[in-house]
Symmetry: C2
Subunit: 246 residues, 2 copies
């Protein structure tokens, strides 16, 4: 398996044809996996915003006061508008976005955006991946982001959307060398591919937001469509939902 970053991509602007920009820089194979950072998808889709677009409602004002920091209530309002549930209210806003991803501040980025205050995540990263899929000669696309997580320090790459491959390999029913059923059953492949691509993506002014993964083989295994957890089986999420930071 080989990974390389696509170099010489220009700064992306609203309305740009990302598939065309990518194919101008790299010869893709049909079985390549293309990992595209959500930042450039958001820019192409015009998902920048200035704070004055958001009028804080009562809930945003209440949350901002409880956060007890110098957060702008218009920013809180932006987070609320991107979210379907606030899971943790304090000491930071952990929310579920409209497309099912759980992250701090609904993944809204306050860096990496010229000429605007905020960069919102794509509205539907899987639909974005499907559109790229139509325009690219490679048949597997992953839209990536970086975010933190509980228990483990630091951020890592994750998949927000995908097209042309299922998100997970399903090992259920398979056995180990001694014929015992495996305890590890579902492997989130798109998250692992996103983590791998993030090793090459970079965050700074050397940013290379598109990575090609070549010669990854799914193997003779089943697949699963699950990517985000159901709340019913997510006991950590249930615990956080009922918790108050003192």
């Amino acid at each position: 398996m080989e990974l390389f970053a696509v170099s010489n991509l220009p700064e992306v602007n609203e309305g740009d044809d990302l598939a065309a920009l990518i194919t101008e820089q790299v010869d893709l194979r049909s079985d390549d996996i293309i990992c595209v950072a959500s930042t450039i998808i958001s820019k192409a889709e015009g998902r920048t915003a200035n704070l004055d677009r958001f009028s804080p409602g009562p809930r945003a004002r209440e949350l901002t006061t409880a956060l007890d920091s110098d957060i702008d209530p218009r920013f809180t309002q932006a987070v609320l508008e991107e979210s379907v549930e606030v899971i943790l209210e304090s000491p930071f806003l952990l929310t579920e976005t409209r497309f099912g991803h759980i992250g701090v501040n609904a993944g809204i980025d306050r860096s990496n955006v010229p000429d605007a205050d905020l960069l919102l995540l794509p509205k539907s990263p899987t639909e974005s991946a499907q559109r790229l899929h139509e325009g690219l000669p490679a048949n597997r696309i992953i839209v990536t982001d970086t975010c933190g997580r509980p228990f483990r320090h630091g951020q890592r790459g994750v998949a927000l959307g995908w097209a042309g491959l299922p998100p997970a390999r399903d090992w259920r029913g398979e056995t180990d060398r001694d014929g015992r059923e495996l305890s590890a059953t579902v492997e989130n492949v798109v998250d692992e591919l996103a983590a791998a691509s993030n090793l090459l993506t970079g965050e700074g002014d050397d940013g290379t937001p598109v990575v090609v993964i070549r010669d990854f083989e799914w193997g003779d295994h089943g697949s699963s469509d699950a990517h985000f957890r159901d709340v019913d089986t997510d006991f950590v999420r249930q615990a956080v939902r009922g918790w108050s930071y003192a």
Copy 2:
């Protein structure tokens, strides 16, 4: 960056010299990163155990009753002996191991082990990595495992221990193309490398527990020694700790 699995490794037994087994199968370069699944380290270190080695104490009996499943109280005792804290008691045991990793059942494996009931995680995966580091011509080693996580479905590869590289890249103080300070600040590189290697490792009877990562470049960035979160800043962990499953 290139990844490949090491093929033809024999079944590993207690006392085996893993470094010798690996170098017999592959020509390593000094700047390679070697990802080794914790299963074969545990086997080489004799970390198998039968259930009858564990005598359930009062706490193990209490937890087993509360779990309300067909779990063996001796297994609960094994989990307790591997752990420093039980973070979630029900509907499953989520604990912190003695070396700081948080996982279900202290990461004890009931598959992948011949001639024994259980395979415990290595006592100190970072010390295991350091020992491998002395025996291998490659200068960067990661001990990997697979585990689940909140919010996102499925398991993915994670790093349990490492040697010869810091666990994280630190982007603090770096700026984006427009001179704004980055919002993503610490990237957990060893977890991302472990996730990448897990794409090739396999779980089943085609298991290939050693993966070589070649031509990964750290780049001109700082580093951080943090890998597991401090409880003080882990609000999700604090929430789970005080929560009861109804």
